[in-house]
Amino acid sequence: MAETPKPPAQATIEWPPAGRRRLIGQRISRLDGPAKASGRAKYSYDVNRPGMLHAKLVFSTQARARITAIDTSAAEKMPGVRAIHLILQPGAEVRWVGQEILALAADTEEQARDAARAVKISYEPLPHLVADVPPEQAGTERVQQLREQTEGDPDAGLQQADVIFEGEYGCAVITHCCLEAHGQVAEWNEDNLTVWASTQNVSGLAPQFAQGLQAAGIPVQASQVRVLTPVMGGGFGSKFAADTWGVACAALARKAGRPVKLMLERDHELLAAGSRPSMYARVRVGAKRDGTLTVWHSESWGTGGPSAAGTPNLPYVIGAGRNPVLPKRSRHTAVFTDIGPARAWRAPNHPQMCLITMCALDDLAAKLQMDPLDFFLKNLQYTERPEVYREELLKAADLIGWREKWRPREEALRAKGPVKRGLGLSLHTWGGRGHNSTCQVTIHPDGSVEVAIGSQDLGTGTRTVIGIVAAETLGLPLEAVTVKIGSNEYPPSGASGGSTTVGGVSSSTRDAATNALNQLLAKVAPALGVPAEQLEAREGRIQVKDDPSRNLSWKQACARLGTTPITASGQTQASLISSGVGGVQMAEVAVDVETGIVRVEKMVAVQDCGLIIDLKTAESQCYGAMIMGICYALYEEKIMDQLTGHCLNPDMEFYKLAGIGDIGELVVHMMTGPRYEERGVIGLGEPPVISPGAAISNAVANAIGVRVPYLPLTPDRVLAALEAKGGAV
């Protein structure tokens, strides 16, 4: 036979140009939507294995204490109990109510619950702090100054200011509230472990399980651990780790010789599976009479539980630009408390920094008697991307009717009746560069195509995006491509955090699909009588670029593969992705000044994220983020009781989230066009959740003429703010 045809030389890989995209940028429904809506999609929660046991955790009932004894004798004798696994030993110190002490497995879930209650833990109590207090009330041993930062000459900045505003702002500790709790099903087959885990980190979990199990005396290597997450019910940053309960579940399965399911109960989920740190700040901001900012001062603090949460960078967006530099001085102090530990929460630190900055600036604008829209437009030179924000601000203003509706604070309050309306806005930013991802594309001789990536779909649309890119690249309809994700048997891909997934998987898929296609083109080039470089894949055909009438159908082309499929792999491609997005959100609220109840009537999100792969799932990210934002702006708070050290609302009754009737009208506008698209793909999961708190708080201030300093904006706080102002009620 003649020599094997060579694939064409590698050029830098690119996205198809605007006019040539068939699928990319369209509104495409998610591939797994029908399976999820009809209940056919099987979440970790839904996995039931033959002979499976049910495990429950015993957790600390003390906020801080030393464990003096663990007595499992009664539990061991309870009906159905098969195995017990100690996570902590007597002598260990517990640091929050809800900290895992042991797990046990029984035949039924109810038996496991009853047995867990029969375990007796004795404690020697230690003094606790669960209240969210400023550093000066926390005691020196619970406080750590994390950062003091000065830029420019903040003292001179104060001198130059015509108007200075001082305020205090902040937001409570909240939790992730994933619809699907943390947890997994674990099953051993000889020395191999399979875990159906609800995780954001399919490719990264096996080593964690191996390490945790080795520490528990069970020798197993990462190569023996299979992790499966075909679908999952949300993570928001709280599901990167194997966690004590994951290791305990696998250890129980090992001991009992049966598969074990251990999903957290809702109370435990709220107590221990992650929270978002609180953040508070005393702020001083100054500006010239014309609105030009001259200075920022802030003293901030917050608690992320027993260890320090991230350090904020204040001010946020405005003042983050380098040219010119806004003179600033900021200091942040962490307060350590005995509440469950913080975990990354969708855009870690950003919603808090955004609230503090945007509310302080909005108050300064009010003191200057300026329309905040003009005030923010005036100060965009202090941002990293003034042009983008300008465009987005004007677009958002248009969509909410800012120019027609906005009234100065005092005027809104004079409106007739107890319900006052107001508008507020906020700006945000995020990075979102794609993570390391590897993808494998297989083209079978019968024409079927598989795309495999060890990634996961948190509900964001990852599976759909991968399918779109592969189908676009191979000139096929979306249905012709089978997307395989959610297993660590597929090529490794990064954890889904930091809005890095879409950039990673879209570019690795583009790369792998291009490589596979090039192999196919090389194979069929002789049959079409042109060099492979002159061929393209379009609309289900392989055709000559200049003469599409010379073509093979996809099936005919693939048939030329004989019996050997083509496989090609690809990696994240820097040329296809970028980082750094901007967004603007505006809110319109109605506040009943006699009851303090706030309703969001309308919200507008204007967002860029480079080249959009699927407009529909991108918009959905923004809708979902605004809903999440309304929840934390108005309702959410992990309420801790200093007396008992307990969380008082580890349930979905008093840990409040919005229902459909509480959401109002939501409008999303994604920035598109050459200026955005030429940047390549950028992540979107996090940015739109950053601004809602600030935009809603600013709208409330506009409606009632006074700032409600802290989120959530509950009736008691709204009424207290009104009363302090001496008005309205």
């Binding site: 109810e110 619950r113 009853d114 209650r117 006699e594 009851t595 303090g596 109840i597 108005l634 309702y635 309420i639 009781d641 200093q642 007396l643 008992t644 307990h646 008082l648 609302n649 580890p650 349930d651 009754e653 008093f654 409040k656 989230l657 919005a658 229902g659 459909i660 009737g661 509480d662 509950t714 009736p715 008691d716 009424l719 207290a720 009620v729």
Partner: protein, 328 residues
């Protein structure tokens, strides 16, 4: 949930025979929307659960010479759909406030009146009177943002959870109770009590009794009634304060007014002085406002619930104005 014996009697008599004379040993199951969560959280750990749902005589709404008889098993949804209740918007507004279709379909009027308080110390295992192991009362020093502002001299600080209690009391409802020695009747206003000791309940029922019927007196043509509920969310949420009012409007003046506050005291709170203020007067916005002020005059807010005083006051005002403007 602790394992239990399950009984499904077909008659009231049979059911009564299955109930213990000590609280906690047996529990009555109606819709289960409250009892099941109490049991899952081990706040209730009965030996036996007696399901009432197969007892036909506890069902249905019927017209009688004195008014309406509402069987204890009548669901929230059935109340909403019953046209005979359209004359009592004070009651239907409270039913509408329970915005979950699942709870409307399962929850019963008897269960609503007998449901346990939602006090988070109680629900988290610190007892109805919320004390820690040292006997310290937790509510006054703890987080009491949702607790009582009236009738809160202690040791009870929780609020009555029933949204049907206030409108039914305002409308003059009575209840019938069946026990081992026959039946007894009382005004609903006497059904709710403030417990003095741990182990006592917040209703005047004995452990071996069953609430069988609610009697709602026939509405005079001059009757006006309404309920105003302050709820933070549209989504299923407990009211922060409610007011139910019933009054007769004769030639523009108020007679026989009754005002009952909900979710502000361990029992539905009758604001007698506020109601008396209205007698013989025209119901203006000013008067409604005064009545609101009077209704909370005796309030003694705890450390974190002063805002509820304002909410209760506004609820009274708005309920009165709604009643005046139509309200049946």
């Amino acid at each position: 949930m602790q394992a239990f014996e399950y009984a499904e009697p077909k008659t009231l008599k049979e059911a009564l025979g299955l109930l213990s004379s000590r609280w906690g040993e047996t529990e009555i199951l109606a819709g289960g929307t409250d009892l099941l969560s109490l049991m899952k959280n081990y706040v209730a750990t009965p030996r036996r659960v007696v399901n009432l749902k197969s007892i036909a005589e506890l069902r249905g709404v019927a017209e009688t010479s004195e008014g309406l008889r509402i069987g204890a098993l009548t669901t929230v949804q059935e109340l909403l759909e019953d046209r005979r209740l359209a004359r009592f918007p004070a009651l239907t507004a409270a039913a509408q406030g329970i915005t979950s279709p699942q709870i409307r379909n399962m929850g019963t009027i008897g269960g609503d009146l007998c449901q346990r308080p939602r006090c988070w110390y109680f629900r988290n295992g610190f007892g109805l009177l919320a004390r820690d192991a040292q006997g310290r009362a937790l509510v006054p020093e703890g987080d009491n943002r949702y607790h009582a502002i009236l009738g809160n001299d202690g040791p009870a600080y929780f609020v009555s959870a029933s949204s049907f209690g206030p409108p039914l009391i305002a409308l003059g409802a009575r209840v019938r109770i069946a026990g081992p020695n026959g039946t007894r009747e009382m005004p609903l206003s006497e059904f709710f009590v403030i417990p003095k000791n741990e182990g006592e309940r917040e209703i005047a029922l004995h452990p071996n009794e069953i609430l069988t019927d609610v009697f709602l007196p026939a509405a005079a043509s001059e009757l006006r009634n309404a309920t105003y509920e302050v709820r933070q969310r549209e989504f299923l949420d407990w009211p922060l304060a409610t007011a139910s009012v019933a009054l007769e409007l004769r030639e523009g003046t108020v007679r026989r007014a009754s005002i009952v506050l909900g979710h502000v005291a361990p029992i539905p709170w009758q604001a007698g002085a506020a109601a008396a203020l209205l007698d013989g007067k025209a119901l203006t916005e000013d008067l409604a406002d005064q009545a609101g002020e009077q209704a909370v005059a005796a309030a003694k807010p705890l450390s974190k619930n002063r805002y509820k005083v304002q909410l209760a006051r506004v609820a009274v005002k708005r309920a009165l104005l709604a009643a005046a403007q139509g309200g049946a």
